[in-house]
């Protein structure tokens, strides 16, 4: 028993040597999370900031003045001032403003009518630059909210959980879903297949070591690497991106560790079906990471996918992980409410390990 443990430790030591001496891979693996977090957290921003608004005011009045002041006082808007009605088109085209609000001549009358709950006439006309439809729709909604804010009858919309619609919150689980696949599945499968390709697997197999020991020892350094990355991501989320992480950190860690195990199982499975590093890399990149980005809900909501891709997304582990992490990190749900996601991930892990063990070959052909 003691000697058996000795073999395992010797193996793990050797795997750490491999990993630590491949400084380029190590550096990339440690930097990817930081780069992705900063990239997605700060630069790729789907939230709307700094909407430049121009105003067409045929008859200035006190209520119009108050209304325009509301815009200049709002951090999401910048006023570009009053513009002549004939130049609306030109100003939008030149990109001086993103939106123009055209007040009617009888704005005061319409406003008081609306306040009294009379059948409403439009309060104002919104002209938007819709070259980016998402921005236009979101911006229109903002503007409407500000204009109607005064009016009693306006429907009240409250955005829950992510009231400022910060995209960082939304992306953090996605980054984790992708990253652990890269680290665990891709690097692990490549590391195992490398032994086959270089011929050292032959020597390892002609020894008293059980082949499974070889494989599991290979996973340990990548598991550690993933834990370091997990810590990096959570710390960056909490202290740099200010993601609330309201749910218990225990649940977040639990689901993440399960997902790391699942990714390792994926890597193990890939290594049992390939003999070349290039093949393992291609399978990981094309068959795993691409679908995980496209079909997991990371970039595009699953509800918006064509029906057939929605079904396909069910077999993608990242989908369930991202779903669970969004619920935990952003909505702050209790663990029991993501139990279904957790069980699906657990089932996938068990199935993949079983499949890999069935396929595992302690021969070389």
């Amino acid at each position: 028993m003691k000697r058996k443990r000795g073999i395992f430790i010797a193996f793990v030591k050797k795997e750490f040597w491999h990993l630590l001496r491949d400084s380029r891979t190590l550096l990339v693996a440690l930097l990817i999370p930081v780069v992705l977090m900063i990239l997605f957290g700060f630069t790729i921003n789907t939230e709307l900031n700094n909407v430049r608004v121009g105003f067409v005011i045929p008859h200035p009045s006190e209520s119009i003045r108050r209304m325009t002041e509301k815009f200049s006082g709002n951090p999401y808007f910048t006023s570009v001032g009053q513009i002549p009605p004939t130049r609306i088109d030109e100003i939008l085209r030149r990109g001086v403003a993103d939106a123009v609000i055209v007040f009617p001549e009888d704005f005061d009358r319409r406003l008081s009518a609306a306040r009294q709950g009379l059948p409403a006439e439009p309060l104002a006309q919104l002209v938007m630059d819709a070259s980016n439809p998402n921005t236009a729709i979101q911006g229109a909604a903002y503007l409407q909210g500000v204009i109607l804010g005064d009016v009693a009858v306006s429907p009240e919309v409250r955005l829950l959980f992510n009231p400022q619609m910060k995209s960082a919150f939304y992306f953090v689980p996605g980054i984790m879903g992708m990253l652990f696949l890269i680290i665990c599945a891709m690097l692990t499968s490549v590391a195992i297949v490398r032994e086959k390709e270089r011929g050292s697997m032959e020597v390892l197999l002609v020894s008293p070591v059980r082949p499974l020991v070889i494989i599991f020892a290979k996973m340990i350094p990548y598991f550690f690497l993933s834990c370091v990355n997990l810590a990096t991501i959570l710390l960056l989320s909490r202290y740099v991106l200010k993601v609330p992480l309201t749910a218990g950190i225990v649940s977040i860690l639990g689901v993440s560790l399960l997902y790391i195990a699942l990714s390792l199982a994926v890597g193990l499975f890939i290594s049992t079906v390939t003999h070349r590093q290039v093949t393992a890399l291609t399978i990981s990149a094309m068959g795993l990471i691409m679908p995980s980005v496209m079909l997991s809900g990371m970039l595009f909501p699953i509800e918006n996918l064509p029906r057939i891709l929605q079904y396909l997304s069910c077999v993608i582990p990242a989908r369930w992980f991202i779903d669970a992490m969004r619920k935990l990190m952003i909505e702050g749900l209790r663990f029991t409410l993501i139990l279904d996601d957790f069980l699906i991930l657990l089932g996938m892990t068990v199935a993949l390990i079983a499949l890999a063990l069935l396929r595992f070959n302690d021969k070389i052909d």
Binding site: A10, W17, H18, V206, S207, D365
Partner: protein, 309 residues
């Protein structure tokens, strides 16, 4: 089969890749404590045979036993007790020589210290460089390290698949000296090589081609058993000499062997008649002398006699 007293017993071993027969109903035996050479060109199926004997590949037909253990049933027992050095250098390039040796010792539940005496004659030659990454060692040193790693668990049987391929002549010589020393320790060695000159360093050799054994004997036995008249011929215009000689009466065979051509005659071959005929065709500088056959001559003769080759 009262064959458990043999180190290796192979019976009808066969392996196909598609329709190609890599190893074709092979049978042979290796005695305890001998150096048994498997001599054959690249692509003869040597590596496939090694893979089957080390339990890495399952044969399609036939059976074999290593040290009395069946290659189909006692896989784990065989894997624990033999040393195997594959043809390609397959140690870890990013680990130092010492780390490689320590790892392989641990793999076999032993330590470098425990068996140092066995590997010392070999390992001491690379000890100066033991902190160097294995990938940065020279070809000969890599091969010594690989042999040390294959030996560190004191196996009683060594499988060496083309251990000297791609290694310089001096290192090759040193390597074979080491094999002799290991043999003196009682270790049985099955070694394959494409180099015919290494054959004479084995106790017994099997001439091997296209998955079949052409003959098994001691190197001396093979030489003595060579019964055709054999000559070395040379002249200024070597290439034309080869072509002309091949068409001459009484010549069974003529092939290049180093700086001369070897001429195999039929029983009624007369060297004087041959010289005169050649002189008449402008080869006035022809030199012809009778020679002893070496393993390569035997190999070529057996290959041509074999109807399946």
């Amino acid at each position: 089969m009262s064959t458990t007293d043999r180190a290796i017993v192979v019976r009808g071993l066969t392996k196909r890749y598609g329709k190609q027969l890599a190893v074709d109903h092979l049978s042979f035996e290796v005695e305890h404590g001998e150096i048994f050479g498997l001599i054959g060109p690249d692509g003869a199926g040597k590596t496939t045979l090694f893979h089957m004997l080390t339990t890495l590949t399952t044969p399609d037909e036939g059976t074999a036993s290593i040290l009395g253990k069946d290659i189909l049933k006692d896989i784990r027992a065989i894997r624990s007790s033999v040393g195997y050095m594959p043809g390609r250098f397959s140690l870890y390039q990013d680990l130092s020589a010492r780390e490689n040796l320590q790892f392989f010792a641990a793999l076999f539940r032993t330590t470098v210290e425990e068996n140092y005496d066995l590997v010392a004659p070999i390992y001491s030659q690379i000890e100066k460089f033991q902190d160097r990454k294995a990938g940065h060692l020279s070809g000969g040193m890599k091969q010594k390290l690989a042999l040390s790693c294959a030996l560190i668990h004191r196996p009683s049987m060594l499988f060496l698949d083309e251990p000297t391929t791609g290694v310089d002549a001096v290192s090759r010589g040193e390597f074979w000296e080491m094999l002799q020393r290991l043999k003196e320790q009682g270790i049985t060695i099955l070694v394959s090589t494409p180099y015919m000159d290494e054959a004479s360093l084995c106790d017994r050799i099997a001439l091997y081609n296209k998955g079949r054994i052409l003959g098994i004997d001691t190197p001396e036995g093979f030489r003595r058993g060579y019964d055709a008249p054999l000559y070395a011929v040379s002249a200024e215009r070597m290439y034309e000499l080869l072509n002309v000689t091949r068409g001459m009466p009484g010549v069974r065979e003529c092939y290049t062997a180093g700086s001369v051509h070897h001429l195999v005659g039929t029983a009624d071959f007369r060297p004087e008649e041959y010289s005169e005929a050649l002189a008449a065709r402008g080869f006035s500088d022809l030199v012809i002398r009778p020679i002893e056959a070496d393993v390569e001559d035997v190999f070529i003769k057996l290959m041509h006699n074999d109807p399946l080759q």
